[in-house]
Amino acid sequence: MILAHTTRRILGQLRHDRRTVGLLVVVPVLLLTLLYFMYDGQEQLFDHIALIMLGIFPFIIMFLVTSIAMLRERTTGTLERLLTTPLKRTDLLFGYGIAFGVAAAIQASIASGVAYWLLGLSTQGNPALVVLIAVTNAVLGVALGLLASAFARTEFQAVQFMPVIAIPQILLCGLFVARDQMAGWLQAISDVLPLTYAVEALQEVGKYTDATATMWRDLGIVAGAVVLALVAASLTLRRRTA
């Protein structure tokens, strides 16, 4: 009950912020269009990169949005106040997860729609799976954002966590260098980064008509990382502060 109200409240805040909603929808579409023109005439390369980007954009954007939103809860005192009410910490964390997950579902559906119908993206597998993986990725971004906000005291600090958390994952996920061509120690790092599995899952959808066992396993790993990050975030959410 409280969870539902908290989710609605967060979506309400988003609704009043029209420009943010606009950016959430438009930015991925613009970036995909940019890729389309960059790889003009190299359809295979576009298919490869655009597919991965459909999973990476929601992750980065939701990470940023969430870490700032949660930091605001801390700095404006609303968090302190909420913790004096019957709200449970999980209500707040899951509220963010669900609310931004819904926003990400809309974002990913529009971006995928544009990519498949207007930009000619083609995959062997079902586009719905791409959206599913993108949303799971977005929720991973939310969970990591909630966790990261605990270590930032200002917005300046919070945005700096984006390159720290996101860029190594993007560099090592297999997009730039195939994972089996990396040095052993890089591969070992890549093995423990959740985005690696999200990208592998997307590539499976690109290659095979039916959902593969590897894809489901990868999706499960990403979901597990979400749970881990949420548990860690709830530990950083102390009721009593100095």
Partner: protein
């Protein structure tokens, strides 16, 4: 009933409260007065259970401060307005009402009670300073709390509104609510049943407004406050010189 016993709170490198004890009776309005930085907000945070404490106990309605069953019964107004700037007044009030399982109609009534009926559909970001504090106050009152902890609730309000708001605090107390209010305005202190005077984290008076005035030998609470704060200050200074001499 709020009971604070031997409370020790350290914030940063400062010991803000050092063995502080006091009690706040049920169904009354208790004023918390003291110079800026004396520890009023810190004490209130301990009462609502968000302050890390180093020692001592805080008991509210028979349970330890901050416990789950208490959170249904407490309303806390933070000193700086803490509401969502990107929601309307009504949406804020309805959300906080929902946390206590109360319906939207009740929230709308509380918004009118604090004099924001006409601004209910406005975004909090677009409110005036005084309106924003009242919107925050509405969110503290909306849960029908048995214990109300209000940190400077009337700052920035005009005299008419202040009078109306105090009418509401008195009415809540008459209905059995325990109200703890901090203030810097002596005219408001006069409207309390009891006063707690705090200076540098120590309780220097715990009495009715009349008794506080009598103890200071004046009928003016402003003068009484100054005298009590300064006298103690001189005592401390004398003690410090004496200790330094020994």
């Amino acid at each position: 009933m709020i009971e604070v016993k031997d409370l020790v709170v350290v914030r940063g490198r400062r010991t803000v409260l050092d063995g502080f004890s006091c009690s706040v009776p049920t169904g009354s309005v208790t004023g918390l007065l003291g110079p800026s930085g004396s520890g009023k907000t810190t004490l209130m945070r301990a009462v609502v259970g968000v302050q890390k404490v180093k020692g001592g106990t805080v008991t509210v309605l028979g349970s330890a401060a901050g416990s789950a069953e208490l959170r249904k019964k407490i309303g806390y107004l933070t000193q700086a307005p803490s509401i969502y700037a990107d929601l309307t007044v009504r949406e804020n009030a309805r959300y906080f009402a929902a946390l206590y399982g109360l319906e939207a109609a009740h929230a709308d009534q509380v918004v009118r009670d604090v004099g924001l009926g006409d601004a209910a559909r406005q975004l909090v970001a677009d409110l005036s300073g005084g309106q924003r504090s009242r919107a925050s106050l509405a969110c503290a009152l909306v849960g029908k709390p048995e214990v109300l902890v209000l940190d400077e609730p009337t700052v920035g309000q005009d005299p008419v509104l202040r009078d109306e708001l105090w009418g509401q605090f008195r009415a809540a107390a008459a209905a059995g609510t325990t109200v703890l209010v901090s203030s810097h305005v002596m005219d408001e202190a006069n409207r309390c049943d009891r006063l707690l005077l705090i200076r540098q984290g120590a309780l220097i008076a715990d009495d009715t407004p009349a008794a506080v005035k009598a103890a200071a030998g004046t009928d003016d609470l402003d003068a009484a406050f100054l005298r009590l704060i300064r006298d103690r200050g001189e005592d401390d200074a004398a003690l410090a010189t004496k200790e330094a001499g020994e």
